[in-house]
């Protein structure tokens, strides 16, 4: 277990609550997705569990008492428009169940899901279909492509079920295939493509209906590491180009840190922590998260705000100037090259000082951790 840099702790935001900077406060009306008190209980008479004292039992206790298994326990969060929101947890933590509850591929037991102002949980079957056709698309771990259809018709499937004419939907699908770098594969069949390419088809299919929100259920877990990295970059690129809201499920912390504006960490169906990547790494909510994040190269995640100390009257004013959200790794070279400590300036105001020792503490702590690994 490593020690967390203590410098400037007082100014660091506390992690466990949402809404550090850009995301709106919970419950604000303009969230792209708003989830409130969502429960999913599997088993006989599952709806009889929520709201009773049984609901407070642990998973095992509930299982032996009622035969029910909790998938998602009282989860609430908001996702801002254009945000990439990552849900992270180990297998069995309920993250895949959670994302399926968002569009009722799995029927939630209790709670509400509001998507673009529409209450998904109260929607009729027709309304729900309408939402799935136009507002939200999903990318799956095992692709879920139709083996009997060409790539083009796979991508156009969502448009087809909407009733769009063949010519129109194929034109649209061709366009999307260009976007994900699959031009030339229109008439191939899924079996003829590699895993990474199949997932591009899955991505294209999700994008084709031009939804406001994309859901990803561990989309890259079945791919090998190099392809996975390519696909992650692809998602980042598409996010830049299209600006869609994304909810991204993963069990891979690196992936979560790389993609997420904010990360929700789940365990046993419950939320453990919601926060920005640096909050999760810098101020883990409990030992579980701390253990989880112990392997992370801190200097790549933590920003200067996590390592600076308050300015004191005698501080040198000749050091390089940087903003508080500069990642330590990027600041390190300039900071160490200069004889004077770095001055952290936000909006023209000096908010903190980072000296060599503070930077070294992050970098060296990291090396110690990695060095102690077998």
């Amino acid at each position: 277990m490593t020690t967390i840099p203590r410098t400037g702790r007082s100014t660091a935001p506390q992690g466990a609550t949402a809404g550090a900077e850009q995301p709106p406060a919970p419950g604000s009306g303009d969230a792209a997705l708003s989830v409130r008190n969502l429960w999913k209980v599997f088993g006989p008479k599952a709806d009889k569990v929520v709201g009773t004292p049984d609901a407070d039992l642990s998973r095992q206790e509930l299982k032996s008492k009622t035969g029910c298994v909790i998938g998602v326990r009282d989860v609430s969060f908001d996702v801002a428009p254009g945000e990439v929101f990552v849900v992270m947890g180990l297998s069995g933590s309920g993250k895949s169940t959670l994302v399926r509850c968002l569009t009722r591929l799995i029927e939630p037991t209790a709670g509400t899901v509001v998507l673009d102002g529409e209450d998904v949980t109260a929607a009729s079957e027709a309304k729900l279909r309408e939402l799935r056709r136009t507002h939200v698309s999903m990318v799956f771990q095992h692709f879920g492509l139709l083996p009997h259809r060409q790539v083009l018709d796979n991508v156009a499937y969502g448009l087809e079920v909407r009733g769009m004419s063949k010519k129109e939907r194929r034109a649209k699908a061709t366009e999307i295939l260009d976007l994900v770098g699959l031009d030339g594969y229109e008439t191939s069949y899924p079996d003829q493509l590699s895993g990474g390419m199949q997932q591009r088809v899955g991505l294209a299919r999700a994008l084709a209906s031009d939804p406001t929100m994309l859901l990803f259920d561990e989309p890259f877990s079945a791919l090998d590491p190099l392809i996975r990295r390519d696909m992650q970059n692809e998602v980042i690129r598409l996010h830049h180009e299209l600006g869609k809201t994304m909810v991204f499920i993963t069990h891979d912390l690196q992936e979560a840190l790389k993609l997420g504006d904010r990360i929700l960490i789940m365990r046993d169906g419950e939320i453990v922590q919601v926060g920005t990547p640096d909050q999760v790494v810098g101020a883990p909510a409990d030992d579980y998260v701390r253990d989880f994040t112990s392997d992370v190269p801190r200097s790549h995640v933590l920003t200067l705000k996590w390592v600076m100390r308050d300015p004191r009257p005698g501080d040198s004013s000749e050091g390089p100037v940087m903003s508080s959200d500069t990642v330590v790794f990027k600041a390190a070279r300039a900071a160490l090259a200069s004889a004077h400590p770095v001055r952290v300036v936000d909006g023209g105001e000096l908010v903190g000082i980072v000296d060599d020792e503070a930077i070294l503490r992050v970098v060296v702590a990291e090396e110690t951790t990695e060095g102690s690994k077998p």
């Binding site: 299982k63 591929l105 279909r129 692709f143 139709l146 083996p147 079920v161």
Partner: protein, 688 residues
């Protein structure tokens, strides 16, 4: 289940450690118990043989049988008033007139025309074109050759009639079966309900349907189509249902999330993805329909079965040979065509359409046009309407006849002693040493019944005992106890021999790839041939006797049993074998201690299937001197006053079948938890 899984391993292991050795010491092995029961039975037999055997003479009837016969008369009399009978009669009328119309179009003279509307040339051309369209040019050639052989061998009309009955039954099976398949694929409750009915339909030997079907749907074409339909339906429903259910849930979920409606899911995702499996089901259904349509000649169903039956009835092998050969030709043609169509569907589904879609369409249009021209020609010129006379059929028949005579004259000095020895040794026994048949049939009925019940208890536990008692009581009350015991004997003897074959060949095939490559195609071919046809060569070898029916039953049941054992043994994980080898086990030890025990569920399933197959054949064997229940059924068909006895015999056969099925299943479930493979394999073999 999960409760035990959650228990820490240490705690879970404890109680078993304490209890198991004690139990193991106390428990007498099952086989020893069974042997003890049989020894006791023999002792009792020695003192009681010949008493209370409930023997019923060939033409004797009891009150039960007369009651059944009068029930039949009542149904026939109420034809104009009873709504159920009215319904069945009107359904029968639809089938009858459809068959009649198709016959006038394709096979018999459509008066006042002296010939059918479409002659042989036109029919062959259209059939070949269909083969081309669904399966490619090779199949088109096969179809052409098959159709030409119908005419050349002189059975054009019977062959086409058989195809007409098969076609109509399959059509009806698809119309009824596909919605059922979709239903059981989408609803677990429907699945469990329908499965029970299908199980029952598949346990019943083919022969048995015929009697009640004829009562409600009449003899001739209508009864033949309905019986065929009932027999052919289960494989389609099961396999198509299984195919639809096995469509990847990820794909369903992914396409659901695109907002599809239930109908879109079915039409665009489930059915296309299950297409290849559905065609496999269709193949099984067609093959089942063909085999039943030949057997339906017992109730005057039109087609090739009739000349075969005529030949078998008078033990004239030469006469049965050519139509029997043509049944095999049709079986091979239909099987190859549907298999090729299914492979093609698979290819289209996996690798995309035909590469030259346009050219294909042009070719089909061109050949279609040609076929239409040939249809026209066959309507206007006599040579193309009526197949030219050919001596080939008759000369082939006489060759077969002389071959059969030669066999009788020359080989009978070998085959007859073999047959007689076998009959004495295994079946009849002598005064002081019982054969199986004398033990079962010559003991007093209560002794035999008690012995069977105790054996069922020993083999399958309480779960087997109850159905056994119910079935035995049923057989007792149907007043055909003695005949039923003889049929049971034939079934048991046949099954033991089938299992010996299955063990030897199954293990051999599983252990040697080369053997598998050689033997499997033979088994596949054997399975496509309708059971009726097996009787012909066996009859030629052994003459009419009980032994003949047993041998035919073995020939009929062996392919399925061998394949099940081979697949089961092959399914043993390679790592387990490797582990056993690394401990220095000999080949024999490897087979007896690893492969066979691990393939146990397959062995039990093979036994189960073997019993049902041999039973079915033992019944059909009533035709060639096997006597017993099969003979009673045949008699019920042919003599009006014996109807009740035939019906009772049919019901007894069903009870025997259910009893054997339940005992083997209970035996399978007793020691190991029932495993899923048995269901899928059962499904695979269900249609044969």
């Amino acid at each position: 289940m999960t409760a035990t899984a959650l228990r820490p391993p240490g705690a879970g292991a404890r109680p078993e450690d304490d209890v198991a050795p004690v139990q193991r010491m106390r428990r007498i092995p099952r086989w020893a118990l069974a042997v003890a029961v049989v020894v006791g039975w023999v002792v009792v037999w020695y003192f009681t043989k010949g008493t209370d055997t409930l023997t019923l003479g060939g033409r004797e009837n009891t009150d039960t049988h007369d009651t059944l016969t009068s029930f039949r008369d009542w149904v026939l009399a109420s034809r104009d008033t009873n709504p159920i009978v009215q319904l069945t009669t009107s359904i029968a009328e639809v089938f009858r007139s459809s068959v009649d119309w198709l016959q006038r179009m394709l096979s018999t003279a459509n008066l006042p025309r002296p010939v059918p509307e479409v002659g042989w040339l036109g029919v062959t051309a259209v059939a070949a074109w269909v083969g081309l369209a669904i399966a490619g040019w090779r199949i088109a050639l096969l179809v052409t050759a098959s159709f030409l052989s119908f005419g050349i061998l002189g059975f054009w009309q019977d062959s086409i009639d058989l195809l007409i009955v098969t076609f109509l039954a399959v059509l009806a099976a698809v119309v009824i079966g596909m919605p059922l398949a979709i239903w059981i694929a989408t609803s677990a409750r429907a699945n469990s309900v329908v499965s029970v009915v299908l199980d029952l339909m598949q346990t019943m030997p083919t022969f048995v349907y015929l009697i009640p079907v004829v009562l409600f749907f009449g003899i001739g074409a209508s009864g033949a189509v309905v019986a065929t339909l009932i027999y052919a339906l289960p494989p389609l429903v099961r396999i198509a249902g299984h195919g639809i259910r096995s469509v990847s849930p990820t794909t369903i979920e992914a396409t659901d999330s695109a907002g599809q409606s239930r109908m879109q899911r079915l039409r665009k995702v489930q059915l296309p993805m299950a297409r290849a499996t559905i065609i496999v089901g269709l193949n099984q259904t067609i093959m089942a329909a063909l085999s039943m349509a030949t057997i339906a000649s017992f109730v005057d169903g039109p087609g090739l079965g009739q000349p075969v039956l005529d030949g078998l009835k008078i033990n004239d092998v030469g006469r049965a040979f050519v139509p029997g050969l043509l049944i095999v030709v049709i079986a091979v043609m239909l099987d190859r065509t549907t298999t090729a169509a299914s492979e093609r569907a698979e290819n289209v589904a996996r690798r995309g359409g035909h590469q030259h879609e346009r050219r294909r369409k042009l070719l089909l249009a061109g050949t279609g046009l040609l076929a239409l021209v040939l249809v026209y020609v066959s309507r206007v010129s006599l040579w193309a309407a009526e197949f030219p006379e050919s001596e080939l059929g008759t000369s082939l028949a006489s060759v077969a006849d002389s071959a059969s005579t030669w066999v009788t004259d020359n080989l009978s000095s070998y085959t007859n002693p073999f047959r007689n020895e076998f009959t004495v040794l295994v079946l009849n026994g002598s005064d002081d040493r019982p054969g199986l048949q004398s033990l079962l049939a010559e003991s007093p009925w209560y002794v035999t019944g008690a012995a069977i019940a105790v054996l069922a208890l020993v083999v399958g536990g309480l779960r087997a005992l109850l159905p056994t008692l119910v079935c035995l009581a049923g057989i007792y009350f149907l007043d055909l106890w003695h005949d039923a015991m003889i049929t049971l004997t034939m079934t048991l003897v046949g099954t033991v021999l089938v299992m010996l074959l299955a063990l030897v060949f199954g293990v051999w095939m599983a252990r040697s790839r080369r053997t598998d490559l050689v033997v499997r195609p033979l088994l596949d071919a054997g399975q496509t041939i309708p059971p009726f046809v097996y009787l012909i060569p066996v009859l030629a070898l052994f003459g009419p006797s009980r032994f003949t029916a047993i041998v035919a039953g073995i020939v009929y049941a062996a392919p399925a049993a061998i394949k099940l054992v081979a697949d089961g043994v092959k399914g043993v994980p390679a790592t387990t074998i490797e582990a056993s080898r690394s401990t220095g086990a000999t080949r024999w030890q490897e087979i007896t201690k690893v492969q066979l025990p691990m393939a146990r569920s397959s062995l039990v399933l093979a036994t189960n299937q073997g019993l049902l197959y041999v039973l079915a054949m033992a019944v059909i064997g009533g035709l060639v001197g096997a006597g017993a229940l099969g003979y009673d059924v045949v008699l019920g068909f042919s003599r009006s006053e014996e109807w009740g006895k035939g019906m009772a015999a049919g019901a007894s056969i069903v009870l025997l079948g259910v009893m054997l099925d339940r005992i083997t299943r209970a035996a399978a479930a007793d020691r190991s938890a029932p495993r899923e493979p048995s269901r899928t394999s059962r499904m695979r073999w269900g249609g044969i």
